[in-house]
Amino acid sequence: MIKGGQNYVSSPPAFSNDGNRVLVCTGNTVSIFSSSTGLQVSSLEGHTAPVTSVVVVPATDILCYCWTSSFDGTVRYWDFSVPETVKKLDLGMPIFSMVIPSFLGSPEENNAKTANVFAYVSVHDGKAWQIRKCSLTNYRKVGKLVLKETERPEPLIISPSGKFLGIKHKRKLHIWKLPRVESDVAVAKKITLHHTKTITVLAFHPTERTVAAGDVTGRMLIWRGFGTQKFLDHSGSNNRISMNDGEDKHGVRQNDDAESCSVWHWHSAGVCLLSFSPDGAYLYSGGTEGVLVLWQLDSGKKKFLPRIGSPLLYFIESPDPSLSLISCADNQIHMLKTPSMEIIKSISGIKPPLSYQEICESFSGKAAFDCTSGLVAVQTENYGIQFYSLLANRGVYEVQVCERNHQPADEVTVAVTLVELSVDGSIMGTVEIKLPEEGVGGLVSLKFWDLDSDTKRFSVSTVIYEPHRDAHISAIAFHPTHRMAVSSSYGGDFKIWVCKEGDIQQKGQALQNSGWMCHAVGSYKNKAMRAATFSADGSVLAVAADTVITLWDPDKNVLMAVVGETPTPIVSLAFAGKSEYLLSVSHGLKPRLSVWSMSKLAMAWSYRLQIEAVSPAIDSSYFAILALLPESNERAFKGNGIILLFNATDPVPVASMSVTKAKGGGLAFLKGDLSERAVIDGKTSQTLLVYINGDREYVIFDPYDKEGHELSIIRQDVPLEETGQFGYSSIYGELPKFDLQKDKTASVISTASERPWETIFTGSTHMLPPLTKLCSVFLESLLEKRTALAE
């Protein structure tokens, strides 16, 4: 079994100490990516429920330890270079968030406290989410002390200095000053800051007592000097009196304990991301509209990285000051070069299903599978198609179907409603719709794409505007061998399209001349046509006209036969491989899966099941269906869906598997040579079935294998490691080796070719990494060189 398609952005990722690795929570595992290549290196497996937070233990570059918390109630300590679990603590309650304050702050304090490491966790005790404390070094049980109870889980935010802990709760911020010496009983002092709108995110300033918060309307509030009265208890009472005058407290509400509060407003929609730069001079903010804004704190000047195309979720700084990452809601993690604000790499997860499924009746969120190369094509919110490699578990590339910039906060008016791939994966058909404004300007367009044989990417070949007048397209199907396609519409007709190639002798012109043209139009009693498919040899075209199936000769466009009658309209059709059976699926009040015999032109057998997806095996008469179970049955099957494998001749299923999140799911058989690359316990498996669920997580397995062996893939693409330079060496280049025999010219050449200075100074000078960051590295390298000399 191969799993993939996990969500990369469920919780904030973390950088390793050397900045070369990114630890990303992916479901039950933590995946480790290389920040230089963007490819997965390894993963930490062991949790039995989704991992909710990763905390890397700060240390020198070599040590790679981290703590993770999970909904399964455990906290684990990992050595992620190996990777293996070092320690496991069972808290017994689902953990939503965990922070470890003692890792932060100044090093000398750290040393004193290494004996006892405490973590603050947000756990669920059965009634509400509670913020509690627990010791990680000598764990007995979670501390009794409950800092705060909330109905909904709130992420814990720790200040970079490790002194303050904060959460947002509805329209309030709760901030605790953590005790200087931690123990199970030490109590933290708490203040509360109020706002009139629901707060969505907060961030602490690295050095000052300043906290920033964003709200749902897009405003950002910055409280300076919070907790002057309560946290600075040494300052005496006279100070407090002067504060209580209230005149100096600009913008601070009620009796909130802060010196001033300023409001910044740029974002048009809710703020999702706030982060101070490590030197505290800048503030990064991002929101639903997908623009990263860099604020200069003193002046309020802004710099933008626009058109990221998806709501931003998290912003993480790496130890390398020139690198940071942003997580986006479309399951992408972008590596950002900080001074110049450029995206240099992306960790591309499968894009999430579209949020606007109900935009129109023709919308189909179904993914299309390229069975030969193991790719799945899914629609993305920014009007594109993402091609995702199922075996490598990463996004390969995207094509932009509709050339528009996506504004995530805006109302949806344009959408890619349908994507279909031909059997050999060389042709793609997409349908996009533009919704009219007050009945003016609606548009349906059908696009055919050709696979470029060199680059293996699709490029648009033909655009057809309004192929069925203004009726929406319900389905596209491709001929198995010829370059022929059929599109069926709700307007009651279908069109057969053929691609005419130009003369082959004139190569340059042939490319321009090849295009898709309408070959034939057919309709049956003006009934809405909701599904179409070709038989395995391409000699028969089956089109579902409302409740009956019409069979056509695609070349001559002659109606050959009309089959059957189902109680509700047929929404999906498929031929069962090379056999003589045709499957039809109808939804509605009387859902039905029917199998029709083409030789008798009559129904062979049928089931009353709500079918979500059907996939015939390509070269046998088997087919698999994904059925939604009625809600009453969910308990019995551990999930809301079931995959059944049938032989078309026999109504008794061959195999069955129960699955979760089946709504909106899809099924596909993978083909021949692809499955040879996947090895199950040393044996190759002939048939592989892919199940992709409603959240676009997928699993590949052998449906005939009862025991469900683990599948392992012989990965052909071993991620190559680039030894990226960071810190000192990224600015000034590698330090020259203290080697007297070394040829001098060689070193000159190597530095000249690297040229790190060309890029590092692209930003403004004041945004360069602080010297303090570089200094330690520089000194460290010098020290190492000394020892080398001594030898």
């Binding site: 058109r307 240099i344 995207e398 404004e437 003016v440 001349n513």
Partner: protein, 541 residues
């Protein structure tokens, strides 16, 4: 930065008009582009132009025969209306003209049977009276020709079916009289490679190749075109001739004894004239650059590539065409019509072509600039000192770091980018491109802002929009959106429209154009009603 930017780099998508369907055969091949690059001007108010010819010597003036006048024009003049020289010493209609190979003498024949030779090298005064009057033909002369490689002789022929060779210097009587044709001789041409051979074509359907060294009135070769021959022309290599007669142009191989090579049947009416055209695209003098230009009474000019045997370009004129000529420097193409208009097509020659010509001709001029290329050393006192080296061109081995190409944004794109929707709409409406207007409207629809924009337009801009609607709302490609929009505009802005006379007038125009369109649709439906039963019957078979 060695590594290329990742594809997920944010990008701006400019608003683009919808793509139009491409024709399956490209209508603009490079060759047809060349032929349509001749910009037409007209010389009007003449009487039908049966003969046109270019002087072989630069600057290639051309002579046109019209009625009893010959006019010589310089194509470089602009405008072309007035001829540089006019010769009027004819008693009857001039039928044929020919320049001598040096361009200094012009022979002309008229329907009175007289052949005259004029001196056109010496300006208009010298050309008033003929140098020679060659009288021997008793019937109208239809064909006069100076051989291309011969300066002393003139060939003439006419309705008396006789072909005569004259020695211009000697004067009055012809050197030779060739009998052989049995009907009017209409045309002829001399070989471009041999001074002694020429061909004539006649209404007796034959084309005969004559050799002046053989005096016995027997043609060397005779081919039968099958139709009265209107024009013949030697192809530049000299081994082949093209003959025009009836609706066809035929190509004959003379070297193999007069074999038919191919026949071009592109015209619908009689082909009246032929000439050799050349694609003067530059230095490489390849054989396949030569084309045969033919004009016919059907008003078409066709360009025939006889090496690939294809009509490569075809052009229509609104009158029956009688004559065609093409200048040797490939700059001008003239066509004479029966209703007295000469269509002069002039082509602008690209800089490089001219430069190439200049550099070949005047080599010694180039010594001078070389002296100046000595490098000047700038002093810091001069401002150029601070700009030195900025215009440096990269040399061979240099590694070029290209500045990332900036996406070019139109004005409406910039406005849309800044969410200034109304201004964007106005800016495209003021522009000329209806495709862009539609693209911006569609973009506004998908931003749900079109209605707001329309309701906010002030009266002046509303007029713009109404003018646009009137012009384009019946264009099938645009009507889907524009019809709906027009209705909405009327509904929303009814008060303003009632208040203003100008707007009312636009609305009336709009109404009229829609009514016209409805009429067209109805008649189309009628036609469809007539055709569809026929098609059904045809389908049954």
């Amino acid at each position: 930065m060695a590594e290329p930017l990742h594809s997920s780099q944010p990008k701006i998508f400019p608003v683009k008009p919808k793509q139009k369907p491409k024709p399956r055969t490209q209508n603009q091949t490079p060759e047809s582009k060349y032929w349509s690059s001749f910009k037409n001007t007209q010389i009007q108010n003449l009487i039908s132009v049966p003969s046109l010819t270019f002087s072989p010597s630069s600057p290639h003036p051309f002579a046109a025969a019209h009625s009893a006048t010959v006019s010589i024009y310089k194509p470089q003049n602009d405008p072309l209306d007035s001829p540089t020289t006019t010769i009027t010493s004819f008693k009857d209609v001039v039928s044929s003209l020919s320049f001598r190979s040096d361009g200094r003498l012009l022979a002309a024949g008229d329907l009175s049977g007289l052949v005259q030779v004029f001196d056109v090298g010496g300006g208009s005064a010298a050309a008033r009276s003929a140098l020679r009057r060659l009288r021997s033909h008793v019937r109208p002369v239809r064909f006069v020709h100076y051989p291309k490689l011969q300066r002393l002789r003139v060939i003439s022929a006419g309705d008396d079916a006789l072909v005569k060779v004259w020695d211009v210097a000697a004067g009055d009587s012809p050197v030779m009289e060739l009998r052989g044709h049995r009907d009017y001789v209409r045309c002829g041409d001399s070989s471009p490679v041999d001074a002694d051979t020429f061909i004539t074509g006649s209404y007796d359907h034959t084309v005969k190749l004559w050799d002046v060294r053989v005096g016995d009135s027997k043609p060397a070769i005779e081919v039968n075109h099958g139709n009265p021959v209107e024009d013949v022309v030697f192809l530049p290599a000299g081994g082949m001739v093209a003959t025009a007669g009836g609706n066809s142009v035929k190509f004959w191989d003379l070297i193999s004894g007069g074999k038919l090579v191919c026949s071009m049947e592109g015209h619908n009416k009689t082909v009246t004239s032929l000439c050799i055209g050349r694609i003067g695209s530059g230095s490489d003098e390849e054989l396949n650059q030569f084309r045969v230009l033919s004009v016919g009474l059907d008003g078409y000019m066709k360009v025939f590539d006889y090496s690939s045997m294809k009509v490569t370009h075809s052009m229509r004129f609104p009158a029956p065409l009688l004559s065609v000529a093409y200048s040797p420097d490939c700059k001008t193409r003239v066509i004479g019509t029966s209703n007295g208009i000469i269509y002069v097509g002039k082509r602008k020659i690209k800089e490089e072509e001219i430069e190439g010509r200049v550099s070949e001709k005047s080599l010694f001029w180039r010594i001078r600039p070389l002296e100046h290329t000595q490098k000047k050393v700038f002093r810091p006192s001069h401002f150029r000192y601070f700009q030195r080296g900025q215009g440096e061109k990269p040399s061979e081995g240099d590694y070029l770091i290209m500045r990332p190409k900036k996406e070019k944004l139109g004005e409406h794109d910039k406005l849309l980018k800044n969410f200034r929707h109304g201004e964007a709409l106005v800016s495209v409406l003021e522009g000329k491109n209806p495709g862009n207007v539609l693209a911006v409207m569609e973009e506004l629809v998908s931003r749900k802002k079109l209605m707001v924009c329309v309701s906010n337009l002030d009266a002046e801009k509303l007029e713009l929009l109404l003018v646009f609607l009137r012009k384009y709302c019946t264009v099938p490609r645009y009507s889907g959106l524009l019809m709906g929009l027009a209705r909405k505009v009327l509904k929303m802005r009814v008060d303003e429209i009632r208040g203003s006379e100008a707007l009312k007038a636009h609305i009336q125009n709009l109404k009229r154009s829609i009514e016209e369109e409805i009429k067209i649709q109805q008649s189309l439906q009628e036609i469809q009603g007539i055709i569809s039963p026929l098609l059904k019957i045809a389908g049954r078979r």
